[in-house]
Symmetry: C3
C-alpha cells in the first residue's frame, strides 16, 4: 500500500516552510504520497488546528501518518511526540494539537521523540516541522517502529473541547469554529440535542439574536434568513441562506450559544 | 496507469472539508493521486467554478476523474451526477458546475447517482463532497462503471457563458472573470474578433475607460499603461502593465465591454 | 524512483492556471508526483520567488524537477531555461527566479529551451507555465536529456541577495522577507554575526525601534516582547512573542537593519 503522509499546519502558503517539509519527507521516502489538509490555520491557534485535524484525519485509511505543526513553543521544553493509534500515526508537538484526532482514532501508545538518528543532522531551534516531524513521519512510513524513535510516555497532553451545559429545556454552549462560508459551528452535538430537547422546534440565541428552527440542510433555510442545522462535523451550527452568518451577525469563536425548546 | 482525481471546490483552505474529502477518496482507493485544482472559489459561485473547471480539467490525461463541489443546494432535491466524457469522468452536483468542462471534453452519457452502495454509510445532508462525490469518484477509478452507481438521465443541467453580440464594427461583451493578477477576462473569443474586426487596431471600452491596442503579451503593453490581448483561456482580456487592471479601473465580473475597430 | 515535479508560482489559488499546468504535466507523464511549494507569491515578485525556491527546493531528493513561474516578461524576448544541477533540474523563465535555488544545489549546465517538440502544440504568448515549462519538466522526468530540448548557454541570468556591510562592531543589512507569522527575515547570516560580533549580547535596530537580545527560539522571547534569533533559513530574523512583528513594528521588505554588540 502507498505511504500516505498528511500535513496540517499554520505555515501559510507564501513561504518556503511547506515546501521544505515536503522535500525532507520525500528525501527520506520518495514513494510517500504527501497530502495537504491545511496550511492556513490561524498562527499559533492550537485549538483550531486540533478541530481541523479531528475533522479530517479520521477519514484517511489505516496506516496513514498525520503530521500536525502548530507549534508556538518550538525549541522550548515542549516535547515532540509520535502517537500510535488504531488507524495510523500522528506526529507533532505535544501541545494538544494532535490529541482530538488521535483520541477519535483510538490511541494505543505515545512516544516522545528522543533519537536524533531519524531527524535532520542540524536540527534548528525554530523549525521542527522540517527537521524532526517531517523526517520522523517519513521513517514511520518506511516501517521504523516508534519505539526505535523515542521513549513511551504516559502523560501525553490532551486538550478537550468545551462541553455544553444542560439546565432543563435549555442547552448552553459556545461557538467552536467559524468556517469558510461563515457557518457558526457550536460545541452542541446532535446527541445532546436529541436527548434533552425535541429536535424540530428550537430557538437558538447567539449574541442577543434569535434564530428559530432546526433545518435539515442549508437550502431549507428561508430566503434571506438564518437557521440552525446539524452540520457535517456532528455539531449544531448556525448558518445563513446563501450568506455569511458570521459576518451578518458579527459573531466569532467563543461566542455563547443558548438553545431552548419552543 | 495511475488513477488521477482532481478537486475543484469552494471549501476554502482553513477547514477540515478538503482533508475529509481526500481521506475518504484514499480510503476507497489508496493508490489514487488526488490533485488540487482550486479550493478558493467564491462561496456558492457556480459560474466561477464552471469557468475554472473548463480552463483546467481538459488538460488532464484521459481517464482522470474530476470532482467539482460548489453546491449551495446540497441536500435539497438537486441531483448528484456522473458525467462520462470522451476523456474521463466528472462528478458533482447537477447545477451547471461541471457542464462547461464536460462539454469541452465531449459528453457521452450522464448518470444521476442513485446507489448508496458507493457512498459513505451515513450520508449527511450538508457535505456530499465527503459523503457522495468523493467516494463515487474513487469507485470510478477502481473501474466500477457509472451505470452501477446511478441511472442514465437526459436532462443534465447545462449552463452557458453569456455570448457577445455583433453590430457591424462593434462587438459588445462582458467581463467573465477577474484573475489573480487583476486581468479582466471577457467573453469575446479570438475567433469573434478576427471574423468581425481587424486584429490590430481596436479600441476597448470598459466602464467609460478606453484602452487602445491589442498586444501579443503583457510585457508589450506600454509602461504604466493598459491594453487588450488574447489570453491563454482563448478570450480577450484587458490587462495593465505590471499592475492590477481590476483595481486600477475599479472593474469586476459582469462589467460590459465594447470593442470597435479604429 | 518516482518522478517528482515541484511548482512554485504567483498564479494564485482561485484561477485555472495551477490546474492547467498540473493537467499538462500529468498528460505527458501520468506517473509524475506533482508537489505544490507555493502559488501565493506576490504577483511578479521575482526576488520573493527566488527566496522561497532557495528555501524549499534544495531539500527535495536528487532527480526532482523544480518548475518556477513568476514571469512578468512572458512572451517577450526573455528566454525559457532548463538548469541542470547536481541534484536535479530547474525549469522556468531566465529572469533570476531559479538562480538562488539552482546555485545552492550546484549548477552544472544551463540550456535555453528552443525545441518546440517538447512544448504544447499551440504555445500561447501569455502562459508559458502551461505551454512550455510544465511539459518540458514532464519530459525531463521521462528521461529526455536537456540537450535535446535546448541549446546550452553561458549567460544564465543570476540574481543575488543584497549583502550586509560590516563596520567594526556594526553590521548593516536589510529585511529580505516577511513570513506568514510576521517574522522579519534579514540578509544577515549566522556566520556574519559570529565572525564580527559576539552572539549573545546584540542590539538590533529596525526603523528606529531597538530590540535587545539574541534568543534561541521564539518561545524564549520575553512575554509581549520582541527579539532577534537565527531563523531556520540561516538568516537572522526579528520576531515578536506570540505576535506579528511586521504588523507590530510596521515593517516590510527592504527596511534597513543595524546590529551592534552591547
Amino acid at each position: 500500500l502507498p505511504s500516505i503522509i498528511t500535513l496540517t499546519t499554520d505555515f501559510g502558503l507564501k513561504d518556503f516552510y511547506v515546501g521544505a517539509v515536503k522535500g525532507v519527507i520525500l528525501g527520506v521516502n520518495p514513494h510517500a504520497s504527501v497530502v495537504d489538509i491545511s496550511h492556513s490555520l490561524s498562527a499559533g491557534d492550537i485549538m483550531e488546528g486540533a478541530f481541523v485535524m479531528a475533522g479530517a484525519c479520521p477519514y484517511f485509511p489505516s496506516g496513514a501518518v498525520h503530521v500536525g505543526v502548530v507549534d508556538p513553543g518550538v525549541g522550548t521544553s515542549r516535547r515532540g511526540v509520535i502517537v500510535e493509534t488504531r488507524r495510523g500515526f500522528f506526529v507533532g508537538p505535544d501541545n494538544g494539537l494532535l490529541s482530538l484526532a488521535a483520541e477519535k482514532t483510538g490511541i494505543r501508545r505515545v512516544f516522545e521523540i528522543t533519537k536524533s538518528d531519524f531527524c535532520r543532522v542540524d536540527v534548528s531551534a525554530t523549525f521542527h516541522g522540517r527537521d524532526i516531524f517531517g523526517p520522523v513521519a517519513a521513517y514511520l512510513t518506511l516501517g521504523i517502529p516508534p519505539e526505535k524513535i523515542g521513549l513511551e510516555i504516559r502523560d501525553f497532553f490532551m486538550i478537550s473541547l468545551p462541553e455544553p451545559t444542560f439546565d432543563g429545556a435549555v442547552i448552553s454552549g459556545e461557538i467552536l469554529h467559524v468556517d469558510t462560508y461563515g457557518n457558526l459551528i457550536s460545541n452542541i452535538k446532535a446527541g445532546d440535542l436529541e436527548e434533552s430537547l425535541g429536535v424540530c422546534d428550537v430557538e437558538v440565541t447567539i449574541k442577543g439574536r434569535s434564530i428559530k428552527g432546526l433545518y435539515r440542510t442549508y437550502g431549507d433555510i428561508p430566503e434571506a434568513g438564518a437557521g440552525a442545522l446539524m452540520g457535517s462535523s456532528g455539531f449544531m451550527e448556525a448558518a445563513a441562506r446563501e450568506a455569511n452568518a458570521a459576518k451578518m451577525l458579527g459573531i466569532g469563536v467563543g461566542e455563547k450559544v443558548r438553545i431552548v425548546k419552543i
